[in-house]
């Protein structure tokens, strides 16, 4: 009886750790997105400050490619939107994962209690 519970406990624990890893992965991805967001915001501001006299380049690999100022602005804006969307997606994903991990946690605690009870019983019996 106790062993079965132990096995169950282990399985649940593994699942839980897996969930935690996923959560942390999503979190780090989201953080990356956040930094990108701030960076793109800065770029947008800088581009707004510029006038068309000075050329804008984009670094693609080892090459600096000339870009049109308006094009650059549009591209940056689009990228900003994309990043925002991604952040939202990751947030919702994180929430879901949190909920699932909560459930797992509850299951774990209940299993642990059972296990302890079983242990207590066996100890009492012994």
């Amino acid at each position: 009886m106790a062993e079965a519970i132990q096995k169950k406990l282990k399985a649940e624990l593994e699942k839980y750790t897996q969930m935690q890893k996923d959560v942390s992965k999503s979190m780090s991805a989201r953080q990356k997105l956040e930094t990108q967001l701030t960076e793109n915001n800065i770029v947008k501001e800088e581009l707004d400050l510029l006038n068309s006299s000075n050329t804008v380049y984009k670094l693609i690999g080892p090459v600096l490619v000339k870009q049109d100022l308006d094009e650059a602005k549009a591209t940056v804006a689009k990228r900003l939107e994309y990043i925002n969307g991604e952040i939202q997606r990751y947030e919702s994903l994180l929430k879901e994962m949190e909920k699932k991990s909560e459930q797992h946690r509850e299951v774990l605690t209940s299993l642990q209690q059972e296990f302890q009870k079983a242990q207590g019983l066996t100890a009492g019996k012994v």
Binding site: Q36, V43, E46, L47, L49, N54, T55, V56, L59, V76
Partner: protein
């Protein structure tokens, strides 16, 4: 003692851990501040360089060639600077423009530095507090825990909150207001708080009634997309009358499906949206007899003055809607008929008003509370399942009757006031509303027993239905005698 010691140890351990965590945060903040300071220094150097760079057209420099070699070379185009804007975007600018960008970034860095220093300060103070906590939990000699029990206020607040719990329908806004009021009172004078609590109970009751009324109203509004003209008129007039009648929070409405209504107060106008107003007026004239109306139609709101100076609202928007067709069939006499017929002084008037027989339609009016009656037909009975609806309404009525102050709503029975006149005015078979007894100023307790009485009365009404067709004509003559102020006001409004 052992447990206490254990608790202390735990507390000390907790405090130690807290302090350690705080210190970690502080250290993190410090490192970040260092980083930003370096960045700031770099930018300053850059700014200097940019200022001096355009001084010469070209510079002789040693150009780095790979990681280990240098080559003598010249730095040309000293005013052209390619600036990294971020995220692999570059912009070619003049030195001055680059300078502006650098200044911009310096500002950003400075902001970050300020924020970090603030957080660091916060956490440093927290660390200090955690240290104190440690010493407190470790050695209980020097520090004393000061606690202040607030007994009465808690109880009073709890009372209010308990009330809130009991009445889930209560509006949070109102609750908050009341709670604050309670708290204020308590804070000021405990003695007074007692009295205030008492009065607040009444207020709570009234609030609940009001809430129910509003809920019903909302339902009605939702249900009735197109209110009849009459209905609107009557409702508006009734609402106005209500306002006139009672300055205090009078409007307590219970939407009664079966259309049970009791009006305990003579003064309080029993206003009913739509055709029912006539009945209400009659009740008023008779010192607020309770009239039981049965509806087979949808929810209706009846404004009834209960004993506690509350008003029950009763509206029949749905019925009015359905009646609109009939009204059109019977001619648009609703407005006029209302004026004529709203002079209900006896229960007989009600039956007169609520019977559609005059129009040649044999359909008896299911309930008096239905929309206003026309000349010929009082209440067009649109619903057909009177029995079922009646039961529903009765249940609703009973539920209401058990509410605090809106007992009048649920009174099924009718006081004996106008029983003699009421008898001939029996509603048609399907109408269970009027059992023939009118209750004056009927409080909850009296109303409740009527509920049980009501059902048996229904069949009797059914029998009399045919007989009453003829007597219906007579009641109108009596109507002009007495005009309740409710009706009068409505007349004036119209």
């Amino acid at each position: 003692m052992a447990d206490k010691g254990k608790a202390d140890v735990e507390r000390v351990g907790g405090a130690v851990r807290l302090r350690q965590e705080h210190q970690k945060v502080v250290r993190d903040c410090e490192s970040r501040i260092q980083h930003w300071k370096k960045v700031s220094g770099d930018y300053e150097a850059l700014s200097d360089r940019l200022q001096t760079l355009p001084d010469q057209l070209s510079y002789d420099i040693m150009v780095p060639f790979g990681p280990l070699a240098f080559m003598p070379g010249k730095l040309v185009h000293t005013n052209e600077v390619t600036v990294l804007l971020g995220d692999n975007w570059f912009a070619k600018c003049s030195a001055k423009q680059a300078q502006k960008i650098v200044d911009h970034r310096m500002k950003y860095v400075k902001n970050e530095l300020d924020d970090l220093s603030k957080t660091m300060k916060n956490f440093e103070t927290r660390v200090g507090f955690a240290k104190d906590l440690e010493t407190i939990s470790a050695s209980k000699g020097d520090y004393v825990d000061i606690r202040e029990e607030v007994g009465n206020s808690d109880a009073a607040v709890a009372k209010g909150k308990q009330r809130i719990a009991h009445k889930p329908n209560s509006k949070p806004k109102l609750d908050v207001v009341w709670d604050l009021k309670e708290e204020d009172e308590e804070n000021e004078e405990e003695g007074q708080s007692r009295k205030d609590v008492m009065t607040e109970e009444e207020l709570w009751a009234r609030l609940d009634e009001l809430e129910k009324l509003e809920e019903l109203q909302d339902e009605q509004d939702r249900l009735s997309d197109n209110a009849d003209m009459n209905g609107e008129d009557t409702s508006s007039s009734s609402s106005e009358e209500e306002k006139e009648a009672e300055a205090a929070p009078p409007v307590n409405g219970l939407s009664l499906k079966p259309g049970w209504s009791s009006v305990p107060h003579c003064k309080a106008p029993l206003s009913m949206d739509g055709k029912k107003e006539q009945d209400d007026e009659e009740e008023e004239d008779n010192c607020l007899p309770t009239i039981f109306f049965s509806h087979t139609v949808e929810l209706k709101k009846v404004r009834i003055n209960t004993g506690k100076n509350t008003m029950l609202k009763f509206s029949e928007r749905k019925e009015q809607k359905e009646h609109s067709k009939r009204k059109k069939k019977n001619g648009h006499n609703n407005g006029h008929s209302h004026h004529e017929l709203h002079k209900i002084t006896t229960p007989a008037d009600i039956y007169r008003l609520f019977v559609d027989v005059k129009n040649g339609e044999p359909i008896p009016r299911k309930s008096i509370l239905k929309s206003r009656s026309r000349e010929n037909s009082v209440c067009s009975d649109t619903s057909e399942s009177s029995a079922a609806d009646f039961d529903e309404r009765r249940m609703v009525c009973r539920s209401f009757s058990h509410d605090e102050a809106t007992h009048s709503d649920t009174s099924d029975g009718i006081t004996e006031e106008d029983s003699p006149t009421a008898v001939p005015l029996q509603l048609p078979s399907r109408f269970e509303a009027f059992s023939g007894t009118v209750v004056e100023k009927d409080p909850m307790p009296t109303a409740v027993p009527h509920l049980t009485i009501a059902p048996p009365a229904l069949p009797t009404i059914l029998e009399r239905k045919q007989e009453e067709v003829a007597p219906d004509v007579s009641p109108p003559q009596q109507a002009p005698k007495r005009v309740s102020k409710f009706k009068a006001a409505r007349l004036q409004q119209k």
